[in-house]
């Protein structure tokens, strides 16, 4: 073919890769070609399958089907080590270092230069590390331990690792997520330099301006499938955003009159260095307010600080006109605030304890007399909320770990509702549960709002936010960049605000 003669053979090709994790289909026949000298962007919403692509290229996961072709030869990348031996380097979003070892050792671990007798040549190792750091424009001391280095400096070490291993396929998984603008620009200079020297780069980013500033091509994934692959010169931002969100909002969500009660939750000027800045908003009684934003935008940190799990640097939180003490979850519960945390296994449940025990954990005071917990009262609480949330439970004395994901989520919800809150914060309430359970959680949230509860709904799933919320707050890099009433909240407006494309506030 004439075209094949013109285009150089790509360094790395993924052909029809599929991958599923248990029931979840993470990748559906994704094909991708990375030619030498090109920076290729991989874009998509949270959960679109970008990380899975990264892990497959890096040898951390193996595809269920499909072929990986490296320099024209099909290869199997069965471990990170093998990927590295094939000249593939992955720079993770959160760099993984050996904090106790020196910067130079981190770069060369497992490949240290040797002297006679297979002894490590420390001099040569430090010298070569210093040369690499110099070339990357960051004069790190190669002999200092990496403990305490900034994320940006740790990424420089990761890149030095890639260079020292003579990698020519370099994958950067959201490398700028934790960087300042100056650090990000420095990283781009390095990336362009690498491409100029003939490496193939795959760059994962949520930030559209970065995609356009750095990349030659962009491939969009949605729900594990490839949607578009185009040169960045051929596709404009609006089209790109549309392709990223694409799907129609399904009509699974209950109809509800927007709430207009008194202000139940008032947050004013909340700050926490490195997490969020100057956050102010209100949630009215009977209102569901969605809090959208990309992973890492500071949503969960904000929720935890409002509830008092984490401290805050400044600002106030009021529930029903009463100020909440900082960093005091007990005080927050007593004043009518409840938080259903993001990770129910880690933070929401004690999996080994029985269902009824779990149900009463947040309100042991109410089920006990003189400090002794009453089993019958405990059981009654669990029954009441179990029925209300239509939990499918064998025995209430079974361990919570035996429940399905959906029922576990209902149990956590019930546990907090049992404290009779007036403000409920739910963080990713339907992550990883099946559709039927999702619908029930949604209708329960609607019913609670109709009864006058103020709900702050944090979710990465845009359809959920748009379907449930009366108002949508969007966070980007720790700031609220948009406050959209239901009529104006669409996938596009939210995505724009979440990626910082325009200031929609």
């Amino acid at each position: 073919m004439a075209e094949a003669e013109r285009a150089p053979r790509p360094l790395l090709e993924l052909c029809h890769i599929t991958k599923s994790f248990q029931a979840v289909q993470a990748l559906r026949g994704v094909s991708l070609a990375l030619p030498a000298g090109e920076v290729h962007a991989l874009a998509g919403e949270n959960g679109a399958g970008k990380s899975t692509v990264v892990r497959i290229i890096g040898g951390e996961h193996q595809p269920d089907s499909g072929v990986i072709v490296l320099r024209g030869e099909p290869v199997r990348l069965s471990s990170p080590l093998q990927a590295r031996r094939h000249g593939i380097a992955v720079i993770h979003q959160e760099p993984v270092q050996f904090p106790d070892l020196s910067a130079a050792e981190n770069v060369f671990m497992g490949r240290q230069p040797l002297r006679a007798g297979r002894r490590i040549d420390r001099e040569a190792m430090n010298r070569r590390a210093a040369e690499l750091f110099e070339r990357l424009g960051v004069p790190l001391d190669p002999t200092r331990p990496t403990r305490g280095l900034s994320i940006a400096d740790q990424q420089i070490i990761e890149i030095a690792k890639a260079l020292s291993g003579k990698a020519d396929v370099i994958v950067m998984d959201e490398p700028t997520a934790a960087l300042s603008a100056v650090e990000a620009e420095r990283l781009f200079t390095v990336a362009r330099g690498l491409a100029g020297q003939g490496a193939a780069l795959l760059f994962i980013s949520h930030r559209l301006e970065e995609v356009y500033a750095l990349c030659d091509r962009v491939t969009v994934l949605r729900d594990g499938a490839l949607v578009t692959s185009a040169s960045t010169g051929e596709i404009d931002r609006d089209t790109l955003v549309r392709r990223m969100v694409g799907r129609a909002v399904d009509h699974l969500f209950p109809e509800r009159e927007p709430g207009s009660g008194p202000e139940a939750l008032v947050v004013r000027g909340l700050n926490r260095a490195g997490a969020f800045h100057d956050v102010s908003f209100t949630v009215r009684s009977g209102e569901i307010v969605g809090l959208a934003g990309l992973v890492g935008s500071g949503r969960s940190e904000l929720a935890r600080a409002i509830f008092g799990v984490d401290g805050r640097d400044s600002g106030t939180v009021m529930v029903n006109g009463v100020l909440l003490p900082a960093a005091n979850p007990r005080g927050a519960i007593d004043r009518g605030l409840a938080l259903v945390p993001e990770d129910r296994r880690e933070q929401g449940l004690v999996p080994e304890l029985s269902i009824e025990r779990n149900a009463s954990l947040a309100r042991l005071g109410a089920v006990s007399r003189h400090g002794i917990v009453s089993r019958s009262s405990e059981r009654a609480t669990a029954r009441r909320w179990g029925e209300r949330l239509r939990m499918t439970v064998g025995r209430f004395t079974d361990a919570a770990a035996t429940l399905s994901g959906g029922n576990q989520q209902k149990l956590v919800l019930g546990k907090w509702l049992a404290t009779e809150p007036s403000v409920l914060i739910v963080d990713e309430p339907t992550r990883g549960i099946d559709i039927a359970a999702k619908v029930e959680v949604h209708s329960e949230l609607s019913r609670l709002a109709a009864e006058g509860l103020a709900v702050l709904l944090i979710s990465s799933e845009l359809p959920e936010v748009l379907g449930m919320a009366d108002r949508v707050l969007v966070m980007h890099e720790g700031r609220i960049t948009a406050d959209l009433p239901r009529e104006r909240a669409t996938e596009e407006t939210v995505m724009r605000a979440a990626t910082g494309t325009v200031d929609a506030a």
Partner: protein
């Protein structure tokens, strides 16, 4: 400020300093403490603990631990005695090889359970602590040998245990050779550095392609072999063995390692530090009676030394972390 290596780290210098103070005070009370015989005894007593501590260091660096050292040592010491009961003229080298091999097998059992079955080392070795000790007692009652005395062992073996070369106890020489070898591997071989990597961040070690399971198994085997060696040396030195040799020794070993500055969560520390820790604890034990402290207090003093050194670790770590942060902020303006 540079981070170049010095022959002794700050922690090791601290132990040396503590040792000097302790020796100075004790010698002031009783000059015989620093006499030729006193020093000879001190190093001899520290040698076996040093062997155990050096092996333990390898494990602790990789975020593992071996609580079964006392039992393994008891088993191999008893094995030495049993060999002589069976054949009074067994050559010393054969006993050494048998003891080391048995220790290595015990280590391999621990290592296989930890590396392959992915059970935490703390739990596995707590289990084998009892299992190995039980085997030891079972063996004793099965063969009807409650105790093996010096007259049942060969004169050669006993001479090996108490002999000296150029005035230095042979046991001490062996401990020094092992210490130097392990220190060398940990500092200058790739496999040694990989042990630090595994302990410092297991996930990163996996991504760096380090065969963690293989390394951890190997470290258990090597450490077990050293414990086996220590068991045989114990038998040769003391000349009297029963099935309870080494009971409770695991606590002294872990204390020596931690006092020596090996981080209990892995990733840092040196064999040299652990050896100095062993020497310090042994010196404390020897000094207490001279200073008028009843020997019964020895455990309490060991424990206090351990707590003190852990507190020091935390304080030093906190200072280091804040200094690293300051340096970084200064650089970033």
């Amino acid at each position: 400020m540079t981070w170049r290596r010095r022959p002794l780290s700050g922690r090791e210098l601290g132990i040396v300093f503590a040792l000097l103070v302790l020796v100075a005070v004790t010698t002031a009370v009783n000059p015989a403490f620093l006499g030729a015989q006193g020093l000879h005894d001190l190093f001899l007593n520290a040698s076996i603990l040093t062997l155990l501590a050096v092996g333990q260091t390898l494990l602790v660096i990789t975020r593992n631990i071996d609580l079964s050292v006392g039992s393994t040592m008891g088993l191999t010491a008893f094995l030495s005695g049993q060999i002589y009961v069976a054949d009074h003229d067994t050559p010393v080298i054969a006993v050494l090889v048998a003891g080391i091999a048995m220790g290595a097998v015990c280590g391999a059992v621990n290592g296989a359970l930890v590396a392959a079955a992915k059970v935490p080392a703390l739990v596995v070795t707590l289990g084998t602590l009892y299992v190995f000790r039980g085997l030891d007692y079972g063996w004793a009652s099965l063969t009807g040998t409650r105790q093996v005395n010096a007259d049942q062992m060969s004169g050669q073996f006993l001479a090996f245990g108490s002999g000296s070369v150029l005035g230095v106890p042979r046991l001490t020489l062996i401990a020094i050779v092992v210490l130097v070898a392990v220190n060398y591997v940990l500092r200058t071989m790739r496999s040694g550095r990989e042990l630090y990597a595994i302990g410092s961040n297991p996930h990163a070690a996996r991504l760096a392609g380090i065969p963690a399971g293989k390394r951890i198994l190997a470290v258990f085997v090597v450490s077990g072999a050293l414990v086996g060696l220590a068991g045989v040396l114990h038998a040769a030195y003391f000349g009297t063995i029963n099935a309870s040799v080494g009971s409770g020794e695991e606590l002294a070993v872990v204390a020596a390692v931690v006092v020596g500055g090996v981080a209990i969560f892995g990733g840092s520390g040196t064999a040299m530090g652990a050896a100095l820790g062993a020497l310090l604890l042994t010196t404390i034990t020897g000094a207490l009676p001279i200073l008028g402290v009843p020997a019964l207090w020895q455990r309490a003093v060991d424990g206090a030394a351990l707590l003190l050194s852990i507190s020091l670790d935390r304080a030093v770590m906190a200072r280091l972390a804040s200094r690293l942060r300051r340096e970084r902020n200064a650089r970033h303006g």
